[in-house]
């Protein structure tokens, strides 16, 4: 049922068709809604900006920094010490992953954009556009936008095959150890204050 609601397909057997009909009935029961009008150009540029690999990674990283350490530090199934180490490691991983992700994705996107300009006549302006698709292709077309995102993501992924092991993992380990030391010092201070009170 969930699959039909979310993905809109079924196997066409009678049961699925019946279920699909009832799901459509439920869908039709949702009231029609409206939102205020806004300038289409502004909406398109916001959507375009947040879909770019680097800002997208920034949004994901910033929200991860808020939620993930909190979830790790409130995991009731592990010991207090494991919880603290897990929180410290997650925080370090998110920070390093976000910074490295942005550092790799933004230049990849800029490079791909510079090499996929159908209306420019520079030496490498059309280097990454397939010859068969060049005719009639215009700047601003949805296909070109998706192609740029795809190509830059693929390029970033190939770079990250190296940076994941050479940069992310060692930096995460260093930062994790710093956070662990800081947490230990904090806990020792707390204990000393408690002992003094007793």
């Amino acid at each position: 049922m969930t699959i039909i609601i979310l993905y809109g397909f079924c196997c066409s057997c009678s049961e699925c068709v019946d279920m699909s009909i009832s799901i459509n009935k439920i869908f039709n029961m949702i009231p029609k809604m409206s939102v205020g009008d806004a300038n289409p150009q502004t909406l398109n540029s916001i959507a375009d900006w947040v879909s770019r690999p680097a800002p997208n990674r920034l949004i994901m990283g910033a929200t991860a920094l808020v939620t993930q350490p909190y979830i790790d530090s409130h995991n009731p199934r592990v010991s207090e010490k494991t919880r603290e180490i897990s929180k410290d490691r997650t925080t370090a991983k998110v920070i390093v992953g976000t910074l490295a992700g942005i550092a790799v994705r933004q230049p990849s996107y800029d490079l791909v954009t510079a090499m996929t300009r159908p209306e420019e006549k520079g030496k490498y302006s059309q280097f990454l556009i397939p010859r068969a698709k060049l005719k009639g292709l215009k700047e601003g077309s949805l296909f070109l936008k998706n192609y740029r995102t795809t190509l830059s993501t693929l390029l970033a992924l190939s770079v990250m095959c190296i940076t994941n092991f050479a940069v992310d993992a060692p930096l995460t380990a260093i930062l994790t150890n710093r956070f662990i030391a800081r947490t230990k010092a904090k806990n020792a201070k707390k204990e000393a204050i408690n002992d003094a009170k007793v």
Binding site: K32, G36, A38, A47, M60, A64, I71, Y147
Partner: protein, 216 residues
């Protein structure tokens, strides 16, 4: 060489430009798997983390990749498709377009599951001035919903699930290690060992171990 490269680019174009979500799933799967592998190696090599914590952190990292891929496909792609359906059927629209629809011949059919704003209004000339507004709204609404869904799936659902799975995995690893170190012996094990000892004319091994402090 250049021809091969061009064919490769054309393949990417044909496979992913119509459906970028497919690309996100494919690259995401490889990316998460690679990142997890690197992080697992980093945890394994980190001597500041004790063996007990490693029994949690390593499964946590491994489950992070698996759950991320699954939840991205189920939650993010699902919500993206649902939000797209809300706009293409006309269930949610900007005020000006809603007013237009209320005064159009499609007044009673729009907002229903079988209706498609793009196909059904294609021939309607009076909708032409609203087309730009509609596609901008669809773009921002689906993009916003996709990002929101990604945040929920990757930053809320995944950490909760991976922690549950990693905790139970840690428990079974610790239990298994304890059993190896201190095997729990049944009376049957001891009796079998005694009879073997009699046959082979040797001392009963398990009895000695039992006296040495083994759990029965």
């Amino acid at each position: 060489m250049m021809q091969k490269f061009d064919r490769y680019l054309e393949n990417i174009w044909n496979n992913y430009t119509k459906d970028p979500a497919k690309m996100l799933v494919h690259t995401g799967t490889i990316g998460w798997a690679l990142s997890s592998a690197a992080q697992i190696i980093a945890v394994l090599l980190n001597d500041k983390i004790s063996a007990k914590e490693k029994t949690f952190l390593i499964p946590q990292e491994a489950f992070d990749a698996c759950v991320n891929i699954g939840s991205f496909y189920l939650i993010t792609t699902g919500i993206k498709n649902f939000s797209k359906k809300l706009v293409t059927t006309g269930k949610i629209l900007p005020k000006s377009i809603k007013n237009f629809m209320e005064n159009s011949p499609f007044k009673n059919s729009y907002g229903k599951s079988g209706f498609n704003m793009e196909k059904d209004l294609n021939s309607l000339q009076s909708f032409e001035p609203h087309k730009k507004n509609y596609s901008a709204f669809k773009n921002i609404f689906t993009t916003g919903a996709t990002i929101g869904a990604s945040v929920v799936s990757c930053n809320i659902v995944t950490p909760i699930l991976r922690n549950v799975l990693a905790s139970s995995s840690q428990k079974s690893i610790i239990k298994c290690a304890n059993e190896k170190r201190n095997p729990v012996l049944s009376k049957n094990d001891i009796e079998n060992d005694n009879s073997k000892a009699l046959q082979l004319n040797r001392k009963p091994l398990l009895y000695n171990r039992l006296n040495g402090g083994m759990k029965v």
